[in-house]
Subunit: 259 residues, 2 copies
């Protein structure tokens, strides 16, 4: 919603006074990532320490599918905001990466992960069983790219600056602690190379187009907002499935089998 | 988002086979309320049992302000969907109730509650400090009324069928357990009469306009979706402020003083 977007942008839009150099902008974004990216979320910490049950891992894979399923949609919205052929040619790579081409795309690979986790493919695709809180946070991502400028929409993808390290850590942790997932890790393998490429492009774009301190502030703010909606997805998972483990009353929400 | 709305409606749109009578429709909606309305949420149960700290109550008042602030906006969207003068004349009462007329409106009364709770008025109005998860759930309400039919948008307000009882219970509990709030209870006093009036109008409208089983299913589904987004707001509050009490990393989120 435009109302909310404007509101949210205005509220912490503390425009810095001086234009940051490209290196300084990168450092500023790195600080945001260190403080707010979801690599530090309790759900991820417990996942990587091998402390989650099979049912909790299923809940994560199932709910996270909704996020995966929205990625090409948000990238198509971003594509639609650009009048620059070269930008659109570059950005469409992301849609191809997720929807697939001659090879299998990221969404299909996530479904392989879901099947390795013992979930029914059609059940996952239906998104019947995801948590409302996860749905709202992911839809907030679509709202963000829909109702902001191209620069802000591109900047919301800058979480990929931090994704490579998290994915590498996760692949090790999943293979070690949850070996029954081992046939489903192709998604992460693909993202190991895709995420840094995508991050480099988005960062160069943001650095080039944020030509004054106000625009640089919007870049930072957009990254912060993206971090918040990733974090909130895990808050919902942690609350409903781990601690305290309190499910909402909707009967169709995923309920793990007793372990 | 239209995509999400369609998706969410389709997924549990189990159209019943026979048209319900008005009494049967009311009973069906009552069942939804008993199962899914947020009167049973752990946060409310603890609030009404007097188990929340002053800081937790402040977090509730502060975050709930965002919901209050969106009510006239969602009612204006509903108004904008109707081509019927009589409907618009009736529905505008809600906007007046919340924004005020010769008297003080519901939003101002909520600010009185916030001030009684020891919160700064401008801090509350800014919505800087609310939880991202609460923002997303409330924005999902705006999305719901924006992207659905007038019938569904009206039906999303049917939670008011259950509000009267909850408000009466809450007024007793707040006066008993949180006496420092006593100068801020005018909002609830007003809602004691407004909510049943509003509910009666919305129910009559839904019963009259849901002229086939499919439309009746949409009425029920809209109420379910509204219940889900009310519940999710309390999930975020409970997780972040009560159990386990794990705040997101955004530095501007409300942090209660140690009690």
């Amino acid at each position: 919603m435009g109302r909310t977007t404007d509101n949210a942008v205005t509220k912490t839009d503390q425009t810095q006074s001086a234009l940051l150099s490209k290196a300084e902008l990168r450092q500023r974004l790195q600080h945001v990532g260190e403080a707010m990216y979801h690599h530090q979320h309790p759900f991820h910490l417990q996942m990587h320490a091998g402390q989650l049950t099979r049912g909790q891992m299923q809940a994560w894979v199932l709910n996270r599918y909704y996020y995966q399923s929205r990625i090409p949609i948000k990238d198509a919205i971003i594509l639609s905001k650009s009048e620059d052929v070269a930008f659109r040619r570059a950005w469409r790579k992301r849609i191809i990466d997720h929807d697939g081409d001659t090879g299998v795309g990221g969404i299909e690979k996530w479904l392989q992960l879901a099947q390795a986790a013992g979930l029914d493919r059609d059940y996952v695709i239906s998104t019947h069983a995801i948590l409302p809180g996860v749905r709202y946070a992911v839809d907030a991502y679509i709202d963000l790219v829909t109702n902001s400028s191209l620069l802000e929409a591109v900047s919301s993808s800058l979480t990929e600056l931090f994704a490579g390290q998290l994915i590498a850590l996760r692949m090790d942790a999943l293979a070690k602690h949850y070996p029954w997932l081992q046939n489903g890790l192709a998604y992460f393998q693909g993202r190991l190379t895709q995420a840094p490429e995508d991050a480099a492009f988005a960062f160069d774009y943001a650095a080039e187009h944020a030509t004054n301190p106000h625009l640089q502030s919007l870049v930072v703010r957009s990254l912060e907002r993206k971090c918040a909606l990733l974090w909130a997805q895990l808050d919902a998972l942690q609350y409903c499935y781990v601690e305290p483990g309190s499910l909402p009353p909707q009967p169709d929400v995923f309920r793990p089998e007793p372990s």
